[in-house]
Amino acid sequence: MSNQLSPKEWQTLSAYLDGQLSERETRQVEARLRTQPDLQSGLEELRHTRMLLRSLPKRRAPRNFTLTREMAEQIRPARQKAQPRFFSTLRLVSAFASFLLVMTFLGDLALQGTTNNLVANQAREMQPAMEAAAPQAPPTEQVFEPFMAAPEEALQTNRAAQEEPTPGAELRVFGSEIEPTPDETEIARRMTAAPPGMGGAVSEPEGTPGVGGGGPDVSTPLATPAPIEEPALATELPTEPAEFSMKAADTPVPTEQPLPEQPQADGQQLEFATQPQDLAADQAEAAEAQFDARSLFRPVEITLAVIALICGLAAVYLRLKTSP
């Protein structure tokens, strides 16, 4: 016997015997068969074994295995009861209700997260407003006091603010980095929209190179709706020292560029004094509206959960009851 062959060679010979090799494999096997007697004798052994198996007589069924009506009736009710009419409907409704429940729950969670963020933002924004309202708060005093004072005092204060960066300016720089909210932008816009002569380069006498008048304002990109005009303004001042221009560009000062398209009235100063409270009221209303929307989720979630549970339990009950 050809016991020297490896299992892989036996498998190849067996597949070759049945014509299950590819054309290339067949050529390789035939080439080896011509030169390797062991391989050839192994092939013959497999061929005889297969011949013996094929020579086995085909046993005929001793009787018919057809199903009688009675047998079919015993089988069919079980098959039909396994899928009752309402089973698929209940299963579908349960699955759909479960899906809606999950989606509603996710929406609730998302809304809850939004509300929390809103409350946090509100608290964060209320803090500087409250600090500004307090007269003993020195960092914000220089920013908010001019709006409450006379224009002359405001001009002096604003000039002082231009000479050295104020904490309010630092706050603006920080705000510009963290992408202020629209409300913050509105506050900044109203703060910068000071009465004429409060620090705009246009109102400076003899064209003094004001800090914010000549150089581009890099600190208030959102508060200034027309930033393209500022470099043009800088080019209109050729006498401006280059050193100062660099300084102006590097020094962020928030309150230098008036907005010509939104002329300010004196009454707006008082309006701004109450802006934090209005802002808080608006945000409270928004939060309340979202809270009302969230409160609507509860009955929807409960209803969907009840539907999913009832339909699912009914489907399971039907399946258990009708299973053979």
Partner: protein
């Protein structure tokens, strides 16, 4: 026989259509069960059970070779029977010696092999082959019976067994090799050509 039409009618509850399919495949099913189980009665029961299972789960038929699908029912039923036998072992067919060792003698098979329908020599050879088939592992026996006895091709066997073609090739080669080794013990019963080669070696 329009097999697809019969299957479609059977799926709609036409018992006559299903029974026509049964008549078409019952010999093949019984033969497969007999080669797997080695007993007429067990094969008969397995074939009947397989057709009942096929009728019950006809809705799970997804097209393709209905023969492969129905033979899969038969092999699954045979596996159930073989597992039942393993749980409840019966008296072995082979005689055992006083030391409880199996006596494997071709003469024993030759002497006691019943051959009521065919010649004694032919029946003895069949008994020898069946004896060797019975000594194969179940999954090897399944493949070699389906291919070499039933005449299915590799792809049909792959569908019937749910195994890839590579596994089918491997199992078939190993089954043939084991059968070759086993049949060498029945040299006197083998055809002349088989014996001459064996003696030449």
């Amino acid at each position: 026989m329009d097999e697809a039409a019969l299957v479609r009618d059977a799926l709609q509850g036409d018992l006559d259509a299903f029974n026509r399919l049964v008549l078409a495949y019952q010999d093949m099913a019984f033969n497969l069960a007999f080669r797997m189980l080695g007993e007429d009665d067990a094969a008969e029961d397995a074939a009947q059970t397989a057709f009942i299972s096929a009728y019950r789960s006809l809705s799970s038929y997804r097209g393709g070779s209905f023969k492969a699908w129905i033979l899969r029912m038969v092999t699954n039923t045979c596996y159930d029977e073989l597992r039942r036998r393993q749980r409840r072992p019966t008296i072995p067919l082979e005689p055992v010696s006083e030391e409880d060792e199996e006596v494997e003698s071709p003469r024993w098979l030759a002497d006691d092999g019943p051959s009521p329908e065919e010649s004694a020599e032919r029946a003895e050879l069949e008994s020898a082959i069946q004896h060797c088939l019975g000594r194969l592992p179940d999954d090897f026996r399944e493949v070699v019976v389906l291919i070499d006895v039933q005449g299915l091709d590799y792809s049909e066997v792959s569908i019937t067994t749910g195994k890839p073609l590579g596994t089918i090739k491997s199992r078939l080669a190993r089954a043939r090799l084991r059968l070759r080794d086993c049949l060498q013990h029945f040299g006197e019963l083998l055809p002349q050509s088989f014996r001459l080669e064996d003696e030449a070696k």
